[in-house]
């Protein structure tokens, strides 16, 4: 991040006319410097594109059964064919196609649940921690009650009554998962609200929503990002558990979690049934982790400038080296 070196503040601001585009370019440049972050972003982009264009990429219909080719192994085995590159499952469905199509449900459920549960939980935690008193007592008792209630039972009841569908799965998982955000946010707010800059905001006359969302929330980004990622992985697997019980994704639709759950029975005969979708989940979580650690860095202005300084120092060192080499060359020749 280049600190603007201009004479007046107005000038500095006037130069920021295309602010958002500038910051997008800046982000791109920073991303190029942070290799792990770049890999993460590329992976996630690929996964999302794969999910969006699944019908065009997948070689087979993921639901098409071919009972003559049950449990066919991947192509590198003797019995493997190029027709089913990564083999088939117990009903003769193409594993690769299922993995590609499964990305749709898994990514969508993971992202939607983390956003819904995270959004709600964080807002509740902020209010509980900052407003205190009765609001705090009410929200915390609500969370206690919900935590004490078995999550799977709640999910089963809701899904059994309303009927399984993608939306219900998202709602159920979000209802089950928001408490952890609430509790963590509350505890962090309790310590941040004591800090002088929050008191300064109060003295200056800020109202509480502004204090919560402008002063406290931005300083909670790092722990919340970390929690969100941990939750994402958990949600993908929770969706698998629901699907396995027949209350989540309904066939012919598929998800990674569902495939892992179904392939479990054939693990010793056909390892690829669990491994392929399992790898897909692992890669997704890894990619999100990489992106999140990069996001954590650039959301902290101090870290961001450190990164920038490191990059500049590296460039300068290179230049000096080049000059030294130039000076030496005439001597040798």
């Amino acid at each position: 991040m280049t600190p603007p070196r201009t004479d007046t503040l107005e000038q500095a601001l006037a130069e920021n006319r295309f602010e958002w585009w500038d910051s997008v370019c800046e982000l791109g440049r920073e991303l190029k410097r942070d290799k792990p972050g770049l890999i993460g972003v590329i992976l996630i982009t690929c996964l999302v594109l794969m999910a969006v264009f699944a019908p065009y990429i997948a070689p087979h219909d993921p639901a098409a059964q071919d009972l003559t080719a049950r449990l066919a192994p991947p192509v590198w085995y003797d019995k493997g064919t190029w027709d089913h590159m990564l083999g088939t499952d117990h009903l003769g469905r193409d594993v690769l196609s299922r993995a590609i199509h499964g990305a749709r449900v898994s990514l969508w459920v993971g992202a939607a649940v983390v956003l819904c549960a995270g959004g709600f939980g964080v807002v509740m935690g902020l209010m509980a921690g900052y407003l205190g008193g009765r609001t705090d007592a009410f929200i915390m008792r609500w969370i206690d009650t919900q935590v004490a209630f078995p999550g799977l039972l709640l999910a089963l009841i809701i899904l059994a009554v309303i009927g399984p569908s993608l939306t219900t799965v998202v709602v159920v998982l979000a209802l089950n998962g928001w408490m952890v955000y609430g509790r963590m946010t509350r505890s962090a707010v309790l310590s941040i609200r004591q800090s002088p800059y929050v008191e300064a905001a109060e003295v200056v006359g800020c109202r509480w929503p502004r204090i919560l969302f402008r002063h406290i929330l931005p300083n909670l980004t790092s722990p919340l990002l970390t929690l969100g990622i941990l939750e994402f992985a958990r949600i993908v697997l929770a969706e698998a558990a629901l699907s396995f019980l027949g209350l989540g994704i309904q066939p012919p639709a598929t998800s990674w979690g569902l495939d892992v759950a179904m392939g479990k029975n054939y693990m010793f005969m056909a390892w690829w049934l669990v491994t392929i979708p399992g790898c897909a989940i692992a890669v997704t979580v890894l990619a999100i982790n990489l992106v999140a650690s990069w996001l954590r860095l650039i959301s902290d202005p101090q870290e961001r400038e450190k990164q920038f300084a490191r990059h500049m120092a590296k460039g300068m060192r290179k230049n000096m080296q080049a000059e030294n080499d130039k000076e030496r060359q005439p001597e040798t020749s």
Binding site: P3, P4, R5, T6, D7, T8, L9, E10, A12, L13, S195, P196, Y197, E199, A200, A201, E202, V203, V204, G205, C206, R207, R210, R214, H215, P218, N219, S299, D300, P301, Q302, E305
Partner: protein, 334 residues
Amino acid sequence: MTGQTLEGRSDQPLVDVRNLSVLFDAGRAGFWGRKRLTVHAVENVSFDIRPGETLGLVGESGSGKSTTGRAILGRVPVSQGHIYFQGKEITHAGKNRVRELSRDMQLVFQDPYASLNPRMKIIDIVAEPLRVHGMVKNTKAAAKEVARLLELVGLPPDAGARYPHAFSGGQRQRVGIARALALKPRFIVADEPVSALDVSIRAQVVNLMQDLQAQFGLSYLFIAHDLAVVRHISHRIAIMYAGNIVELAERHLIYDSPVHPYTRALLSAVPVPDPPVQRARQRITCPGEPPNPLNPPSGCRFQSRCPYVTGTCREKAPELARRRPGQMAACWNC
């Protein structure tokens, strides 16, 4: 003592604190205890601050200096007594009233490293008071005003585009002062504004505060425990001990002819930067600790450490009374 009588006078004080007491509830004595505990943070404190004046408030840690300052700003509930601002009572001001008053009264913080939000740019920090009071729509509209404020406190105009971590302690404290000045207040509570700064920077910040006072006619309540700094900036000085004001006098009277034994002991603890003089000086010591604020003694708070203690001191608390023109002390024996 009431708002009406004060309003009529020409040298009407800007801030008038009358018999202020702040008590905090500290829960029960023990788990099953019946008695409720109360922390006597500030008790029966009276002083006034005139327009354009600086009142230095000095005392050791836990003597109730900061609590007094925060009570005036409406951030601590007042148990007894009255606070008047420009002749109007503000003792038990509601939330909205406190918010309105924040245009006239501001706070400068002790720790410049913790009092600026690390994720906000300087321009946003300084423009925030203007925004929340609806004076400007967005930060851009405030750019001119922010640039003026930054110049006023001696920061380069491009400072606004940067984040707090890029600045030193002294510069950050300047940002804090700029934020406090944004609403054009008349009264500023400075809560140990230089005690967290490097010694070489303190004079700069104190001088800046004096310049701003001369320029805008500000009044300060300057809380500190550094007697040299207080002497430099204050017109009058109040010495606090265990929640009471023990002496309140013009600056030169406090330093040249202190009356209260605590003031004398406090001043004798300040080293003189001249070895022969310092060696020849007699150090007045008062062995002991300040009383427990949960259970202050009846009578004078200083009785346990006072060399001149008598029976009266143990029975009745002395009132702050005039000793000579411009000097008041709370003591039975001096």
